[in-house]
Symmetry: C2
Subunit: 248 residues, 2 copies
């Protein structure tokens, strides 16, 4: 496991950062990177560890460098909904807000590149390359959130599962896009995390995964590894139109 954790010492230098060209700093010039380096520090969280509690004062904003984290909300009686899945290069926190609105929890071991909030907000004002990149990212997030609203509001349990798997598969195979060939993917989520994400119970998640397996749409190798014999079969189960619905 530790092999996947970045060497924090080496990463003081932004130029060798794995998310350099995708994160909020993507558009920065060398002198702007230097300013960022002055206000940044790294933190690593263990799986299951809470990064931020809703209601906490936000001392920093951050980029996810590696790992997976969840943005969740909870109703007073305990019902929980994941409202965002944070992957490497995603941004955490909301500039201009004092107090966190959502819980942030590490799902896998997760390393953040944190920026002290106040200086970062100052940079936002003075550095269009940062604010413009953040704007792009926020608009992308907004589109993703809206896609997810369709899933939560209108899709059946089976369609939700098929959508989730196809999204993960799609992201895992961005490069090797051989459409009709078998693809195999690791689910970075437990059944419970999936249920939080999809607005279902974990029992229903489990049942629908079993059903998709029984119907030959997917195969299972262990609990977290999925084999997709024919992506088109899976996409046909998502309820989206044939272009795959542009989900993420």
């Amino acid at each position: 496991m530790t092999a996947l954790v970045p060497d924090l010492e080496k990463m003081r230098d932004c130029t060798s950062c794995p998310i350099r060209h995708k994160a909020v700093c993507a558009k920065c010039e060398p002198d702007e990177l230097q300013r960022l380096e002055e206000i940044k520090y790294y933190r690593t969280f263990a799986p299951g560890q809470t990064i931020i509690w809703a209601g906490d004062r936000m001392e920093f904003v951050a980029s996810v460098v590696s790992g997976v984290a969840a943005l969740t909300q909870t109703l007073e009686d305990g019902r929980r909904q994941m409202v965002g899945l944070l992957l490497p290069s995603d941004f955490v926190g909301r500039p201009g807000r004092e107090v966190a609105k959502f819980d942030v929890t590490a799902i896998a071991e997760t390393t953040l590149c944190c920026f002290r909030r106040k200086p970062f907000e100052k940079m936002l004002e003075e550095t269009p390359n940062v604010s413009q990149r953040l704007l792009e990212m926020a608009l992308d997030e907004l589109d993703a959130a809206r896609e997810w609203m369709l899933l939560l509001g209108r899709k059946t349990a089976r369609e939700k599962i098929a959508s989730l798997i196809s999204i993960i598969a799609r992201r895992a195979t961005i490069n090797e896009r051989v459409y009709s060939e078998a693809v195999s993917v690791d689910l970075p989520l437990t059944r419970e995390a999936m249920s939080d994400y999809l607005g279902l119970t974990l029992e229903t998640v489990s049942r629908q995964i079993s059903a998709l397996k029984k119907d030959g749409v997917i195969g299972l190798k262990g609990n977290r590894h999925v084999v997709i014999p024919d992506m088109r079969l899976l996409l046909a189960e998502t309820g989206d139109d044939d272009d795959g619905g542009a989900l993420l």
Copy 2:
């Protein structure tokens, strides 16, 4: 009705615009406003009229000046989900995207202040006052979308209705915040539009409204007008914690 429609001629001048201090132009200096005036034009849409179809080329982005519009998504078999409710000062369209991703439909008579897309994108790059304001608005929208995800994924039909009414009531009474006194509100939505927003059928919406009425949580004056004898009663039905859940 026409009394509510702004006089388009008078509004060539941004300084007298009703949304001047809330829309994407809120932070602009006089010279920047002038640049905006050069690329803007007004359009008015009748209730029910489609403003943009998903898949259309986006020729413009816009601010809602008056009225109400809906951002919706549709599954191939016709299931529909509203993913945004656009009120005066809200922004329509996504800079940097060629093709619209969602349908935009006028619910009431709606006037837009449209900006030709290409020149607007150029301004975004050159005018931090615009891009920073748009960033703020996008982050607010993102928070609202995430609140809505909790509602769609985890709330019961009754809680959804109570949440919707309390949000509308809250927005309608921003100034006169006498908490325990009766409030009355107009719902700007049909039952069908509510069902699209809440991820329910219109029958369920109707039934739950009747149930809340029977339980004395709300009163009805005609179909579109709601009286709330005690806001705390209504808030207790939303499922949120007692602070009202910060929904919008």
